[in-house]
């Protein structure tokens, strides 16, 4: 657990980011719903929007665009984005598999599920498969303890998983090959 500091990144040569028109309108509407002078309250919802418009992660360019739209200092956005675990600050796969690993899930076999997924996908928790299809993440309690073990992919909860049903899920996702975001309807 040493040397956690990543080299300070540079934005030179990285992919630019701009909100779509629809998203921009949504951002403006969100900012308008708070009392006057309190539009910063929209930061977290807007970061969710930015993340889904940027292939599931928040690049520096995406966060800077959020700061620009909201009239905030850039560091205010970085501070918030890095605090919350649903915001990815590094590129992720087409599918992010958030596997719950907390005690109530552990009692019902989440350790085995995670070990199986790590083996099947050939990655450790926190890593993305070479083909860019899956990012495996161990996350803390998702409030689905009665239907454990489970994982979240995009907006969907996949509950009461067994080795077989997890395999089937992976295969189905791979076949569909379409990005999922937390904000999907």
């Amino acid at each position: 657990m040493s040397a956690r500091t990543r080299p300070i990144t540079t934005t030179a040569g990285t992919r630019p980011f701009a909100f779509s028109e629809a998203a921009l309108a949504e951002c403006k509407a969100l900012m308008a719903r708070y009392p006057e002078g309190r539009s910063k309250s929209a930061l977290i919802p807007i970061l969710h929007i930015a993340q889904s418009e940027n292939d599931g992660w928040l690049s520096v360019n995406a966060m800077d665009a959020v700061a620009h739209v909201m009239g905030l200092q850039h560091i205010e956005v970085y501070e918030v984005a890095s605090f919350y675990s649903m915001f990815n600050l590094h590129p992720v796969g087409t599918y992010v598999l958030d596997v719950c690993r907390t005690a109530p899930c552990m009692l019902r076999g989440s350790d085995d599920l995670i070990a199986h997924l790590e083996k099947k996908l050939g990655v450790h928790c926190g890593e993305t498969t070479k083909d860019g299809m899956f990012t495996l993440k161990g996350v803390e309690c998702l409030g689905s303890c009665g239907t454990a073990p489970m994982l979240q992919c995009g907006a969907g909860y996949h509950e009461k998983l067994t080795i077989e049903s997890a395999d089937a899920l992976i295969d189905a996702l791979r076949a569909r090959n379409q990005r999922t975001n937390y904000t999907d309807q």
């Binding site: 919350y84 552990m106 350790d111 309690c141």
Partner: protein, 450 residues
């Protein structure tokens, strides 16, 4: 058979939508309150009901509302805490998914009592993603239950759903308010309390989802009726979400006061253990002390333990535990307490906001020691070291997360110290993660009631 106040219509088809909800008596409490009652009268009913906060701390709801400062010309807010992330707890999600309008109804009625014209539902990011939670307030608005001059009473009310983004700490009320203001979820230093200076520095009440939902039957049937259920200061019904190694996991509405034995063993609720024997119980979410199964059934003095705030806490931390949020999970004898304690410690270390030093540094330290123990690298001094570290976190932090991180470790050592010693004595055996599956750990009975 417990009464069903929140779950009466849980299985009724169409109850999720406004039409079905209305057809089954939905929004009656709004009609009753706004047409026939004064805000003070609603507060009085809530006080009479003896309702206590269902999020974990169990603070009397009516009293909390009565602390709300009411300076002239300053808005007041109700914020519903739907950031349910206490491990083992999934009752609020269940309620919001199945009867979403009940929460909205409770919010309108409660806001009327407080004189709040805007309220927020702060819902954890992971839940918000599920479409079920998003449509109900639009429906309610369209039908005239929200907006200006509701039911011609002159009372205006707006509800906004605010989304979180993955942070357990935002369940702490002041961290929640910070997050709602678009900041990092760092708990505030109290005082001032939210009732005086909360959201946007205005007087604010933060209540749990279930608490606000319970206001509906209280207003409909009267506080006295509600208070008839339960025992003493544990009035009404409570949602318990059951998980772990029980036969029938799920969310149950119980009358406060049923016996713990009935809850864990009867087929109406948990239905007993799956396959093996019970070893330990965490009755109120991971933050409350874990206790051996025998102590869960009977208090140290040999009385039957009841599902009430008082009875669960009987014996203090030496032999009791807490009601907490109602996130109930049970362990069978294949489970390893050290592994589970390590898992808990990892959770708190991951979720510490990092603001104050005992929690930021202490939770990570405990996680490392427990990791070492569980993986067969423990040392003889580790148990005493852990005890001392948790003791130095507890009570010395800004918010209760420090206590919540310390209690599971303290209670595990208190009741299962011999299991920790086993890990130090037989490092090779515990290297197999399933070390107790084939050969359940035979507990030294002296620790059962230590």
């Amino acid at each position: 058979m417990s009464r069903k106040l929140l779950f009466e219509h849980i299985a009724t088809p169409g109850i999720r939508g406004l039409e079905g909800y209305r057809a089954n008596g939905g929004y009656r409490s709004v009609e009753k309150a706004l047409r026939t009652m004064s805000p003070e009268a609603v507060l009085e009913e809530v006080k009479k009901s003896g309702l206590r906060g269902r999020g974990g701390a169990g603070f009397p709801t009516g009293l909390k509302w009565s602390f709300l400062a009411k300076p002239e010309g300053v808005p007041r807010y109700l914020v519903v805490n739907a950031d349910e992330s206490e491990p083992g707890t999934f009752k609020d999600r269940y309620l919001m998914e199945r009867i979403p309008h009940m929460l909205i109804e409770g919010m309108i009625t409660s806001s009327f009592a407080m004189g709040a014209h805007t309220s927020y539902i702060y819902i954890r990011g992971e839940y918000f993603c599920r479409p079920d939670h998003r449509t109900s307030d639009a429906e309610a608005r369209a039908a005239g239950w929200l907006g200006k001059n509701i039911l011609g009473s002159g009372f205006d009310h707006e509800i906004h759903v605010q989304v979180g983004a993955g942070a357990y700490i935002c369940g702490e009320e002041t961290a929640l308010l910070e997050s709602l203001e678009g900041k990092r979820g760092n708990p505030r230093i109290k005082p001032p309390f939210p009732a005086v200076m909360g959201l946007y520095n205005c007087p604010t009440v933060v209540n749990n989802v279930e608490t606000i939902a319970a206001v509906v039957p209280i207003v409909n049937d009267g506080g006295e009726e509600y208070a008839k259920i339960g025992i003493g200061k544990s009035a009404g019904t409570k949602l318990i979400s059951a998980g772990g190694n029980v036969k029938r996991p799920g969310v149950y509405e119980i009358d406060l006061g049923i016996t713990c034995d009935e809850f864990i063993n009867s087929d109406e609720y948990c239905g007993g253990v799956e396959g093996r024997a019970f070893k330990a119980v965490v009755p109120g979410g991971s933050s409350v002390p874990i206790i051996p199964y025998e102590l869960f059934l009977k208090t140290a003095t040999g009385e039957s333990r009841l599902m009430t705030y008082e009875s669960l806490a009987d014996g203090g931390f030496a032999t009791g535990t807490m009601m907490g949020s109602g996130g109930f999970y049970a362990y069978n004898d294949a489970q390893c307490i050290v592994r589970s304690t390590w898992n808990h410690a990892r959770f708190y270390s991951h979720e510490s906001c990092g603001q104050c030093s005992p929690c930021r540094e202490g939770t990570g330290w405990m996680e490392k020691i427990l990791h070492r123990l569980e993986h067969g690298e423990g040392r003889s001094e580790d148990i005493d070291l852990l005890w001392d570290v948790q003791r130095k976190i507890e009570g010395n932090t800004i918010c209760p997360l420090g206590d919540a991180a310390a209690w599971p470790v303290a209670s595990a050592i208190r009741h299962f110290r011999d299991e920790f010693e086993y890990h130090i004595r037989f490092p090779q055996k515990v290297k197999d993660p399933k070390h107790f599956e084939k050969e359940p750990f035979a507990r030294n009975p002296k620790f059962a009631t230590a």
